[in-house]
């Protein structure tokens, strides 16, 4: 006790403040300093159509972007003035548990899309398909867009997204993926597909 | 060591007695809330009774059991070893507030151990003008008729449980 008291006495208060400041600068220096720095724009790889990008959560290969009046798994037409934008992909769940949360695997960032209308398994039109670990599925992601907002033969950039994993030892909610960011792009030509029964 | 223990023995006795009591006291308030959430506060309705509940008068009009073996049961295609409980309740909205109650309906067995939901897809015609649910649009007296598919024998002594959001945790427990 006496030792500590004597130590405190030898160094004046002013010196203690300077010492604390020096320690603070040293620690922030370790983390890159106090001045903010502009992040350099990252250039993402552009993948050819159909090539798979393997991520920790999903493996994704983008095949097509289509515009249609009647989309897979539904026989209703889109709301007045709208049409369906359908992106077809092959998705493989690389995580350890089945999930139906696949609609953020890709993003069409150039377009201001509303909430996704539905996801559909292409082989049997099952809505809200499950992606099981290690099993690739061909799915369509469907959005309703104002007619003409995407033109036939227009180039559309589809971004493949990757989310981060948060692990929780909680039985009900458990691990979850959050904050998806783009990691690759695929450029496709949007195609207008005539509806079944169209005379053209 | 033992002298210290002996000197303070009453404090130890106090901890041993008061400790568990404190825990029990803290949990007791939770227990009653839990008990009510699970069982509700039933208003028991016996045959012939007329009860005021949720803005209407309720009385049991009729109830019977259709066995799977019976002719009616066979023509309704009831599965083997089951029986169909049919219950009719007369609901007379009091007209206060211009709204007739809506409700959830279940069947509980005699011991209260098992609970059934109303049966769907059973080929049995209900009385003309009767409703299979609490119709809040009906302001005049009407008949509520519900069906439950239960294991053979479970209909005996069963009770119809009627709950409304407004009256919770109180609920009607109608003897069939």
């Amino acid at each position: 006790m006496g030792l500590v008291a004597r130590l405190l006495d030898t160094v004046s208060t002013r010196h203690w403040i300077l010492l604390a400041g020096a320690v603070l600068l040293a620690i922030t220096g370790l983390f890159g300093g106090l001045a903010t720095v502009e992040k350099e724009p990252v250039v993402l790889p552009v993948l050819p159509i159909g090539e798979e990008h393997v991520g920790a959560q999903f493996g994704v290969a983008v095949h097509s972007v289509e515009l249609m009046d009647v989309a897979p798994a539904y026989t209703f037409e889109a709301d007045e003035g709208n049409e369906y934008l359908v992106v077809s992909i092959t998705l493989t769940n690389n995580f350890v548990v089945s999930t139906t949360d696949i609609d953020e695997a890709i993003s069409l960032e150039g377009l201001k899309l509303p909430k996704i209308d539905r996801t559909v398994l292409l082989s049997d039109s099952t809505p809200l398909p499950q992606a099981h670990p290690g099993l690739p599925i061909d799915v369509a992601l469907v959005w309703q867009v104002p007619r003409g907002s995407v033109a036939d033969k227009e180039t559309v950039q589809v971004s493949i997204m990757e989310a981060s994993l948060q692990t929780e030892p909680d039985l009900l909610f458990g691990d979850y993926w959050y904050d998806p960011v783009p990691v690759a792009h695929v450029d496709l030509t949007a195609h207008r597909v005539p509806a079944v029964g169209d005379s053209e | 060591m033992t002298a210290w223990l002996r000197k303070n023995r009453w404090y130890f006795v106090a901890i041993a007695v008061l400790g568990p009591l404190a825990v029990l006291a803290a949990m007791s308030t939770d227990w009653f809330g839990y008990e009510q959430r699970v069982n509700g506060r039933p208003i028991l309705v016996a045959e012939g009774d007329n009860v005021d509940f949720a803005g209407a008068e309720w009385s049991l009009d009729n109830s019977f059991v259709v066995s799977a073996e019976s002719q009616a049961g066979r023509s309704a295609d009831l599965p083997k070893n089951t029986e169909l409980v049919v219950a009719s309740v007369r609901i007379n909205p009091s007209g206060v507030g211009d709204v007739s109650p809506s409700c959830t309906i279940h069947l509980k067995d005699r011991d209260g151990q098992r609970t059934w939901d109303t049966a769907l897809g059973i080929d049995v015609t209900i009385d003309e003008g009767a409703s299979s649910f609490c119709d809040s649009t009906r302001l005049d007296s009407y008949l509520l008729q519900v069906l439950f598919l239960v294991p053979e024998g479970a209909g005996e002594g069963s009770r119809l449980i009627i709950e409304t959001a407004e009256e919770a945790p109180e609920l009607l427990s109608i003897a069939l």
Partner: protein, 187 residues
């Protein structure tokens, strides 16, 4: 001096004990874990609100159903077809099923929709017999490691019963196609 030392030692010991308790105390996943009831094929397991008897496990390349809307299920992997009878015990729920293998969890397939035994609510005391499908990659059925199939009264397994079955599937033949019979109530 000795008295100071004794107090320091006791203080340190209490700190060590506290940190041990902190690290060893069970987390939510452990305290809320389900109660597992193991069964073998042909046996009946009864939990708090679910009773399950598994009759048979088969493998198929293609599964079909000819109910209200005919369905054909193809897969890049293989279908694990589980015939079972289930019922609730105390109240009606929509049951859940999943398969675990090598740290991976496969939920029962929703593709057969209402033709699957886990696609519709069960009834207390009245058994429903039908089939549960799991869609898995081929390597799940190729080793001698058994898979573990779990059935529960609902998808929330916390503190509730789970009926579990462990079976190795590598000795089963993969049938080219299996026709599903929709769930049947009663018995």
């Amino acid at each position: 001096m000795i008295r100071v030392l004794v107090r320091v030692v006791i203080a340190v010991a209490m700190l060590v004990l506290a940190s041990l308790i902190f690290t060893l105390a069970p987390n939510d996943e452990q305290t809320q874990a389900p109660v597992e009831i193991p069964i073998s094929i042909g046996e009946t397991g009864t939990g708090r609100n679910i009773e399950v008897t598994v009759h048979n496990i088969r493998l198929a390349e293609v599964v079909e159903a000819d109910g209200y809307t005919p369905w054909t299920g193809t897969t890049p992997g293989v279908w694990i077809v589980v015939d079972a009878t289930m019922s609730n015990v105390v109240n009606s729920t929509l049951p859940s099923g999943f398969l675990t293998f090598d740290g991976l969890t496969y939920f029962a397939s929703t593709r057969p929709d209402s033709e699957s035994l886990v696609g519709a609510r069960l009834t207390p005391g009245i058994p429903t017999t039908g089939t549960v499908l799991f869609e898995v990659p081929l390597d799940v059925i190729q080793t001698s490691e058994p898979v573990k199939i779990t059935f529960a009264a609902s998808s929330d397994l916390r503190l509730d019963s789970a009926i579990v079955l462990s079976e190795r599937l590598d000795e089963l033949e993969i049938e080219p196609a299996i026709l599903l019979e929709g769930p049947e109530t009663g018995g």
